[in-house]
C-alpha cells in the first residue's frame, strides 16, 4: 500500500518535472554537442532512474537538478564511449564544466529559445520543424506526433531521426540569431508552432485525443515563445491568436458532437478568461508597432468575438483586416475568408465576385473550404443548382466526419435542384 502510494507520488513528481523541464533539460544537454538524440536518450535514462529510485528514497528536493545530474553523467559516459580521439577530451571537459556550473544547486540556464531556433532552422525541412519541436521541447513520442500529423509512426520516426542528424552533422547552432537575421528566423519558429496548432485544431468534433492534445502542446509552445520573446509583436500575436481559437473550442460542437460554424456559435459558450487574456496580449503586441500576420489574424478573431458584447461581429473591421492580411500574404485562403466577410458588408454578389478563381490556382480546386464558401454564397444568392454542385465537391473533399455531415445538412437544406 505504502509502496503503491510512493510509486504514484514518484510518478506524479516525475511527470510534473517532465512537463515543466523536459525542453529545458534537452536544450541544455544538447546545446554544446548539437546532439539532440543523445540528449534525449540521456534524459530518458534519467527519467527511468527517477522512477526506480524516487519511490524508494523519496523524490529529491530539486528534481530538475537531480535529473540533470544523472542525464549529464549518461551523456558524458556515452560521449567518452564514442569519441576517443584527443580533441574530444577538451569537449568533454568543457561540457562537464558547463554542466557543473549549472547543475549543482543553481538554476539551469534556459536555452529552450536556442533549441526552438535550431528546430525551426531554415536548413531543416519545413514539414518536420513542428514535429521536431514537439519532440525536442515537449518530449512527445513519434507515435503521438505521427497520429496527429496523419503519418505512419515509422515514417515520422525516420524523419525525426534524419532532422536531428542534420542538426548535428550540418552544425546547426543552438543560439538566438543575430539582429539582422532575427525577424525572418522568428517567423520560421512561429510558423512551426502555428502549424502544430493548426494540425491539432482540425478536429472540430474533439473526438481525436491525439489531435486535441496536440493543440494543447502547441498552446504550451506558443506561451513559451511569447514568454521567451516578450518584445516581439508577432510572438504575442501568435499566442493571442491561439488563445482566441482555444476560447471557442467547446462552442465548436453541439450537444450531439455536431460541428457548429463560427457565426452560429453561442457566445456564452466561449471561454471569457481566454478571450480576455488574448485581448490583453493583442493590445501589448500592437503597442510594439510592428504589425504582422499573426497579429492581423488575432485582430480578426477579436472582431469576431466582438459579437459577445454587441451581438454582431464587427464586419467592416473584418473586411479591412482581411484586406491587410491579403496584401501581406497573397494567400488564396485569406481571399476566401475575405469574400465571406464582404458578403456581410457589401452583399452576396460582391462576395462571389471577390472569390479567387479556382481555374487560376489548381490547389483551390482541391481545397474544401473554397467549395464550402462558394456553395454558401451561391445558396444565399439563390443559385441553388450551382450551390448544390459546389456542396457536392466540398463534401467529397472533407476528411472530418463532423464537418462532412454539417455540409451534407447544408446541402440538403437547399430545395431540390431544378
Amino acid at each position: 500500500m505504502t509502496r503503491g502510494n510512493g510509486d504514484g507520488r514518484a510518478r506524479d513528481a516525475a511527470e510534473a518535472v517532465a512537463r515543466r523541464s523536459y525542453g529545458k533539460l534537452v536544450a541544455f544537454l544538447a546545446a554544446r554537442t548539437r546532439d539532440v538524440a543523445a540528449a534525449e536518450d540521456a534524459l530518458s535514462d534519467a527519467f527511468a532512474a527517477a522512477l526506480a529510485e524516487w519511490p524508494v528514497k523519496g523524490a529529491p528536493s530539486n528534481p530538475e537538478a537531480w535529473l540533470m545530474t544523472v542525464a549529464r553523467r549518461r551523456l558524458i559516459d556515452g560521449a567518452r564511449h564514442v569519441r576517443v580521439h584527443a580533441d574530444a577530451t577538451d569537449d568533454l571537459r568543457r561540457m562537464a564544466e558547463s554542466l557543473d556550473a549549472a547543475g549543482d544547486g543553481g538554476a539551469i540556464p534556459d536555452q529552450r529559445l536556442a533549441l526552438l531556433f535550431a528546430c525551426a532552422h531554415p536548413a531543416i525541412d519545413n514539414a518536420i520543424r513542428a514535429p521536431l519541436m514537439l519532440q525536442a521541447v515537449l518530449g512527445l513520442d513519434a507515435r503521438a506526433i505521427a497520429s496527429a500529423f496523419l503519418t505512419s509512426p515509422d515514417a515520422m520516426a525516420k524523419r525525426l531521426v534524419r532532422a536531428k542528424q542534420k542538426i548535428r552533422e550540418a552544425g546547426i547552432p543552438f543560439r538566438v540569431p543575430d539582429r539582422e537575421e532575427l525577424p525572418a528566423r522568428i517567423d520560421t519558429v512561429l510558423d512551426a508552432i502555428y502549424a502544430a496548432f493548426a494540425e491539432g485544431w482540425t478536429d472540430p468534433a474533439g473526438t481525436d485525443a491525439a489531435r486535441r492534445d496536440l493543440a494543447e502542446e502547441a498552446l504550451f509552445l506558443a506561451r513559451l515563445a511569447a514568454e521567451l520573446l516578450p518584445g516581439e509583436a508577432e510572438s504575442l500575436g501568435l499566442l493571442a491568436l491561439v488563445l482566441y481559437a482555444e476560447s471557442r473550442r467547446r462552442a465548436r460542437r453541439d450537444a450531439s458532437g455536431g460541428f457548429v460554424p463560427l457565426d452560429a456559435q453561442d457566445p456564452l459558450a466561449w471561454d471569457i478568461a481566454l478571450i480576455e487574456e488574448a485581448e490583453a496580449l493583442l493590445r501589448r503586441a500592437c503597442a510594439l508597432g510592428a504589425i504582422g500576420r499573426f497579429q492581423l489574424e488575432a485582430a480578426l478573431q477579436s472582431a469576431h468575438v466582438a459579437r459577445r458584447r454587441s451581438g454582431r461581429a464587427d464586419w467592416p473591421a473584418v473586411v479591412e483586416l482581411y484586406d491587410a492580411l491579403f496584401a501581406l500574404t497573397r494567400s488564396p485562403v485569406v481571399a476566401i475568408n475575405r469574400a465571406l466577410a464582404i458578403a456581410e458588408t457589401r452583399g452576396v454578389e460582391a462576395a462571389i465576385a471577390a472569390l479567387p478563381d479556382a481555374d487560376a490556382d489548381e490547389r483551390l480546386g482541391r481545397y474544401q473550404p473554397y467549395w464550402a464558401a462558394r456553395a454558401d454564397l451561391l445558396a444565399r444568392s439563390g443559385a441553388r443548382a450551382e450551390a448544390h454542385a459546389a456542396y457536392e465537391l466540398a463534401i467529397g473533399l472533407e476528411r472530418d466526419d463532423a464537418i462532412r455531415s454539417f455540409l451534407q445538412r447544408r446541402q440538403a437544406s437547399l430545395a431540390a435542384p431544378p
Binding site: D87, H121, A123, A170, G171, I172, P173, R175, P177, E181
Partner: protein, 118 residues
C-alpha cells in the same frame, strides 16, 4: 567546422559578359577571397575549367572506363569551390551568401566529414 561551398552556375553566362563585366566579376571574387582570408576562415579555393575540359573515370570489373564530359549534365555546372572553417552552419551560410556566385548561380554548402585531426 569545415564547410565546402560548391559554386554552381550556368557556364554560358560568363561568355555573354562584356570585358568590363568580366573584370568586375573577377574583382568581386578577388575581394570575396580576400575577405575570407582576412577573417582567417579560408582553407582553400579554386576556380575550375569549364566542363568541356572534364573527364570522368570509373572502374568496373577491374577495367577503367574513361568518358569525355562531366559526371552530370545539368543546367548549372560546378565552376569552383571554397573550403572554409567556421564555427557553425549559420556562419557558413552568412559567408556563402556573400559569395558573388550566390548572385548568379547556386551555392551548395556541405559540411566536411570530421576526421581525427579536424
Amino acid at each position: 567546422m569545415q564547410y565546402l561551398f560548391l559554386l554552381y552556375a550556368n557556364e554560358g553566362g560568363w561568355d555573354q559578359l562584356t570585358d568590363t563585366q568580366k573584370q568586375q566579376g573577377m574583382a568581386a571574387y578577388t575581394a570575396y577571397t580576400q575577405a575570407l582570408r582576412k577573417e582567417g576562415v579560408l582553407v582553400g579555393s579554386n576556380r575550375l575549367q569549364p566542363i568541356a575540359a572534364a573527364t570522368t573515370v570509373r572502374v568496373a570489373d577491374g577495367k577503367s572506363q574513361v568518358l569525355d564530359g562531366p559526371y552530370a549534365d545539368t543546367k548549372e555546372q560546378l565552376g569552383g569551390y571554397y573550403l572554409v572553417d567556421v564555427p557553425d552552419l549559420d556562419a557558413a551560410l552568412a559567408w556563402a551568401a556573400r559569395c558573388p556566385g550566390a548572385g548568379h548561380g547556386t551555392i551548395e554548402v556541405r559540411p566536411v566529414w570530421p576526421t581525427q585531426n579536424a
